[in-house]
């Protein structure tokens, strides 16, 4: 992927974000890319809303699937653990508890054993 050119940035600012030429040139690159991030988030929100409507429509139609669709089926980004979504919660099993204990030992060292034991 090639780095964006001035023309790419300007066209994006004008068409997608709706900035005037003067507004575009008065922003710092950091502020402009922050706007780009927020614009992407707003796009994702719109897509989520449309996906939710489609899920409801499909799940309540005459020919509904035997397994009801979930939002993540139509919008992979909404799947837990996908980039941009909250991390999936992990069950606290015996094995996971052991992993946590091992990590703690690595960080703080093994507990001192009392002398003579």
């Amino acid at each position: 992927v090639s780095a964006p050119t001035w023309l790419d940035l300007w066209a994006f600012a004008r068409v997608r974000i709706g900035l005037s030429k003067a507004e575009f040139f008065s922003l710092t690159p950091r502020a402009f890319f922050k706007m780009h991030e927020v614009w992407l988030e707003s796009q994702r929100d719109t897509h989520r809303m449309i996906a939710l409507l489609r899920v409801d429509l499909i799940n309540h139609s005459f020919y509904r699937p035997t397994r009801p669709l979930e939002l993540a089926d139509l919008m992979p980004a909404a799947r837990p653990g996908a980039a941009g979504s909250a991390p999936r919660r992990r069950r606290l099993t015996k094995k996971f508890r052991g992993e946590i204990a091992d990590r703690m030992r690595q960080i703080f060292g093994a507990p001192a054993t009392p002398a003579g034991s």
Partner: protein, 133 residues
């Protein structure tokens, strides 16, 4: 009711300011896209005049610091907060003995304006006390 203009002025908190002192006067540097574009066009025109094939892209990196490029980049960066200066006046402002300090400040200002890395936080740019002068 009179409307106060904040955007693009010294009170604009979204624009990072990097103060530099020249002849006892404080000038604030800021790299807006306009400043970067102006500096890049001037430097690339200089390079073309010299018959060189290379060109700079200030969105991604500053050029190797030499006298000519430092003056040009300073002139573009200073005019964001000092529009009363023409490009030529701003370019002639730094004396030879100030150029090293100015080159350091230019790099600082550019770093404050560039797109942040993934591990950098979104904190507001630090505003040195001298920036309000």
């Amino acid at each position: 009711m009179s409307r106060r203009k904040i955007a693009g002025t010294i009170a604009d908190a979204t624009l990072p300011k990097t103060p530099v002192e020249i002849d006892g006067k404080i000038y604030n540097l800021c790299f807006t896209l306009g400043a970067l574009s102006e500096a890049e066009t001037s430097i690339n025109a200089e390079l073309a005049r010299e018959g060189r094939d290379d060109y700079v892209n200030l969105l991604y990196a500053l050029p190797a610091g030499n006298l000519a490029s430092t003056r040009i980049i300073f002139a573009a960066a200073v005019r964001a907060f000092h529009p009363e200066l023409t490009f030529e006046q701003a370019r002639d402002l730094p004396a030879l003995e100030d150029l090293y300090t100015i080159a350091v400040k230019v790099r600082e200002a550019w770093n404050r304006a560039r797109v942040k890395d993934k591990d950098e936080d979104d904190a507001n740019p630090t505003e040195p006390a001298a920036a309000v002068a």
